[in-house]
């Protein structure tokens, strides 16, 4: 019973954090990817660098910067504290933010190249037929870039499930509250609970396997 709980709680927490993060990643990611692929604006190169940065930075660096931003004196942290009365660090919401920041580049990179690869003539055809840019994006560009966008979602989800370093720094490893699967595995290993570690590792591998395999299947459609 105890083992079941020590598996189920981190599992559900991880799925919750990864799902919520992926929802936001999808919404914001598609928007940013569309802008990067279709628009020319000043400082575009800077935007491109900034959204790619978390992909190459060590998670501890990303985590540290997040701690600064989310802390009681940080920009976001202070606002959050004013509204809710308590800090955001060491909560599962902080883990969502960490997962979001780390997995957003996956979405943007994949979706930008998919949107950029849509035939320009096809989009222009929609414009000449009287459809606005928004309608063209909604009915033509995004459906045609669907494969890449779905792949981006799945990769982001997988990345969020596996997030460790930044989460550890902003949310800690609090049993039952912020201890996600990767953190629990580390904890179990540290405390010599090999049985639990093995089980968690197996489940995590299975989840990742299913997500990646599902992308392949979705891509075939």
């Amino acid at each position: 019973m105890e083992t079941l709980q020590s598996v189920m709680i981190p599992l559900m927490l991880t799925l919750k954090i990864a799902s919520i993060s992926t929802v936001f990643v999808t919404i914001l990611g598609i928007f940013i990817a569309y802008m990067l692929a279709k628009r020319e604006f000043t400082g575009k190169w800077l935007a491109e660098v900034l959204v790619t940065l978390p992909l190459v930075l060590p998670p501890t660096v990303t985590g540290y910067i997040l701690v600064l931003v989310l802390g009681k004196n940080g920009i976001f942290g202070s606002i959050f504290t004013k509204i809710t009365g308590s800090g955001i660090l060491f909560t599962w919401q902080a883990a969502v933010i960490a997962a979001f920041v780390v997995s957003l580049p996956m979405m943007i990179k994949t979706a930008t190249s998919a949107i950029g690869a849509v035939d320009r003539n096809v989009e222009e055809a929609a414009c000449v037929l009287g459809r606005s840019e928004f309608e063209t994006a909604l009915y033509i560009t995004l459906p045609l870039a669907k494969k890449g966008i779905v792949a981006g979602c799945v990769l982001s989800f997988a990345r969020a499930v596996g997030e460790f370093g930044a989460t550890l720094m902003v949310a800690g490893n609090i049993q039952g509250r912020t201890s996600t699967m990767p953190l629990s595995i580390y904890g179990a290993y540290q405390t010599g609970n090999d049985e639990l570690a093995n089980l968690l590792v197996l489940i995590l591998v299975v989840i990742s396997f299913i997500t990646i395999a599902a992308t392949g299947k979705l891509g075939e459609r």
């Binding site: 222009e124 414009c127 000449v128 009287g130 045609l144």
Partner: protein, 376 residues
């Protein structure tokens, strides 16, 4: 319905960013009008035809000028008018169909019919499918269609919103000859039926000649000649247009010697001899160019050479056949002329070539008819 276009656009190496004093890498200036007829923009690739068409559709913005369709100002650089493509009532057909691959034929055609009731839409789609005769393909997806069918759908889609003008950018260039000929005929009939101006781009001289009511010839971003296909093909204005419409024999070093009585012809010194050419208003001693189509050069049968020489006919040339290329229905011979070593290309129908029993290395005589020659 009328179309009036007079636009200019410059391109710089670094997209549209203009450095001080930098000369444009390409500049397009074109003006023409259409009037419920079939206008063909003709020229080789890279001559600015597509840019002109995209400017009319609003997909690109000219630097200067005006575009007016049916008295509606679509673009005017001075009055700062520039309607978006959405607001222009234009049908556009791209070189590669540009169908929406994730929608079936019906959905493709319906896409331009925003704001109509569904019964109305249904009627319109059926009418369009009937117009291009593809009723049976209503629910097919683009990847299930042949090249010709795709272009028919693209045409139906472009015409569905009742455009004021139809623009076509080399729509048949990727199709095989049989389908192309059929679609040309059908497009011509549809244009007559709808009575809207059609602006059609092509680099194929035959396509231009057979389709056009009027031709606009482009070179390097400039309009070189405007006129009926007959005018352009039989009386090209300059060397460039002549070459484009098939005058592959062009000579630039001719000198005017004098004129015939009553200005009926002009005598030129060229190819090492005197040539009787059509009249041109130039002084004796002026340098001019002249040309003739290979298919208009008459090959004289060996048996009649003496008779013709006795009659003292003009523009006769002796040459040696350097090589012969079989085009399938005719042969192109390259003749080295005896008097001047210039090369004359002569096109002979295959049956005639066979009966004359000519071979490479043979000597033969050709005659250039004054009426077939052009001088400028």
């Amino acid at each position: 319905m009328t179309v009036e276009v007079d636009i200019e656009k410059e391109f710089y190496r670094r997209k549209h960013i203009k450095k001080k004093g930098e000369k444009p890498s390409f500049s397009m200036h074109c003006s023409f009008d259409a009037d419920s007829d079939f206008v063909v923009l003709f020229g080789c690739s890279g001559s600015g035809k597509t840019t002109a068409l995209r400017c009319i559709a609003g997909l690109e913005k000219p630097d200067e000028g005006t575009i007016k369709i049916n008295n509606t100002l679509y673009f005017d650089s001075k009055k700062k008018v520039n309607l978006t493509p959405q607001k222009r009532k234009i049908g556009y057909m791209f070189q590669e169909n540009a169908l929406f691959p994730h929608m079936n034929v019906r959905q493709n055609i319906e896409f331009g019919l925003k704001g109509m009731y569904s019964t109305e839409k249904k009627e319109k789609v059926s009418a369009m499918l009937g117009l291009v005769e593809i009723e049976e393909l209503e629910f097919a997806y683009p990847n299930e269609l042949s090249g010709g069918q795709k272009q028919k759908v693209a045409l139906a889609r472009a015409l569905a919103p009742n455009p004021e003008v139809l623009l076509l950018d080399e729509p048949f260039s990727a199709l095989d000859t049989v389908v192309r000929l059929k679609l040309r005929k059908e497009l011509r009939m549809i244009q007559k039926k709808l009575g809207i101006p059609v602006i059609f781009i092509t680099h194929d001289p035959v396509e231009a000649f057979t389709m056009a009511d009027r031709m606009v010839v482009f070179d390097n971003g400039r309009v070189q000649q405007r006129g009926s296909p007959e005018e352009v093909f039989y009386h090209p204005k300059d060397r460039y247009v002549a070459e484009l419409v098939g005058f592959s024999n062009l000579f630039d070093d001719a000198v005017v010697e004098g004129h015939g009585q009553g200005a009926e012809c002009t005598f030129l010194w060229s190819l090492g001899t005197e040539i009787t050419a059509p009249y041109i208003e130039r002084m004796a001693g002026d340098r001019v160019s002249w040309g003739i189509r290979p298919e208009n050069i008459e090959l004289v049968d060996k048996r009649y050479i003496h008779t013709i020489q006795k009659e003292g006919r003009k523009n006769l040339f002796y040459g040696v056949i350097m090589n012969v290329v079989n085009k399938g229905t005719s042969r192109i011979m390259s003749l080295i002329l005896k008097e001047s070593d210039d090369v004359l290309k002569v096109e002979v129908a295959n049956h005639a070539f066979g009966s004359l029993k000519l071979e490479t290395g043979d000597e033969c005589m050709v005659r250039l008819r004054t009426s077939d020659m052009i001088v400028f």
